[in-house]
């Protein structure tokens, strides 16, 4: 999957949970879920489950622990779908 396609899919996944529109509109690889998008920590697990469903993958606890930015999510998803 191309990088741009991956970012677009992640962007639509996080959309229901974001609380900072400006950061969302400027979303890039470097955007963080909590710090930038202001996603409430209570919704982080929903983001993880939505990512699992969208890409038909399973994310382990040690991966979930660091999946707090667009870049980290891209790395984890890429490693799973290319495996």
């Amino acid at each position: 999957m191309k990088k741009e396609e991956l970012i677009t899919k992640l962007k639509s996944i996080v959309k229901p949970y974001i609380q900072d529109e400006e950061a969302f509109n400027n979303l890039s690889e470097h955007t963080t879920f909590v710090g930038d998008l202001k996603i409430n920590s209570a919704n982080l697990v929903d983001v993880i489950l939505d990512v699992e469903d969208e890409f038909d993958i399973r994310i382990e606890n040690d991966e979930m622990e660091r999946m707090l930015s667009v870049k980290a999510a891209m790395d984890i998803v890429s490693s799973k779908i290319s495996a």
């Binding site: 209570a42 919704n43 489950l49 606890n61 707090l68």
Partner: protein
């Protein structure tokens, strides 16, 4: 050290996949899941334990620049009572949880001198809520210290931790803020 977390129950009911087994598996140990499913209050139990974990996480992670999402490393005990314990590695952190019809709030603390307060937001805009939280924190600290609210400012340090200033002087008291949906909460430790 102080940590505080609030869950808006109406918001959580609509905006979360809490009914799914996979949701439970990502957040809770087998023992915790047994408790969650034990008494017909699955929804309340989930958010009770979540707020315990999150409030304890805020003590552990205070000032950490890189956040972690490791709820299973925080293990909840004494969950049948309002007064619980969260164990993280070799640390035991006491918690107090209050359950209301519309919210659940937990304060985690190290020293017993603390206060907490729940408030309702005028709207759901993040920036408006942020400003309102800071105002509420300043007012609570003013009452606690018998000071005029005008003398108090709440400013985040460069690690993202909000701190009290009185007439420009940094105070030792610690502040933890939380918000979810329509509710905010603060906890102050001396």
């Amino acid at each position: 050290m102080i940590g505080n977390d609030i869950v808006d129950l109406i918001f959580a009911n609509q905006n979360s996949r809490w009914q799914e087994q996979r949701f439970l598996d990502k957040l809770f140990s087998e023992e915790e899941q047994e408790f969650i499913l034990s008494n017909g209050s699955r929804f309340h139990n989930i958010w009770h334990l979540w707020s315990m974990k999150e409030s304890a996480y805020k003590i552990i992670a205070r000032g950490n620049r890189v956040p972690h999402f490791n709820p299973k490393d925080f293990k909840c005990f004494s969950t049948h009572s309002d007064k619980g314990q969260v164990i993280f590695q070799n640390k035991s952190i006491p918690t107090v949880t209050q359950t209301h019809r519309n919210f659940i709030q937990t304060t985690a603390y190290i020293k017993p001198e603390w206060m907490s307060k729940v408030f309702q937001f005028i709207n759901t805009d993040y920036k408006v809520q942020n400003t309102q939280s800071y105002q509420c924190a300043a007012k609570s600290y003013a009452e606690l210290k018998n000071l005029s609210p005008d003398t108090i400012e709440v400013i985040k340090n460069d690690m993202g931790v909000p701190q009290f200033y009185v007439n420009g002087n940094l105070q030792e008291a610690q502040l933890s803020l939380s918000h979810h949906g329509c509710f905010g909460a603060l906890a102050i430790a001396e």
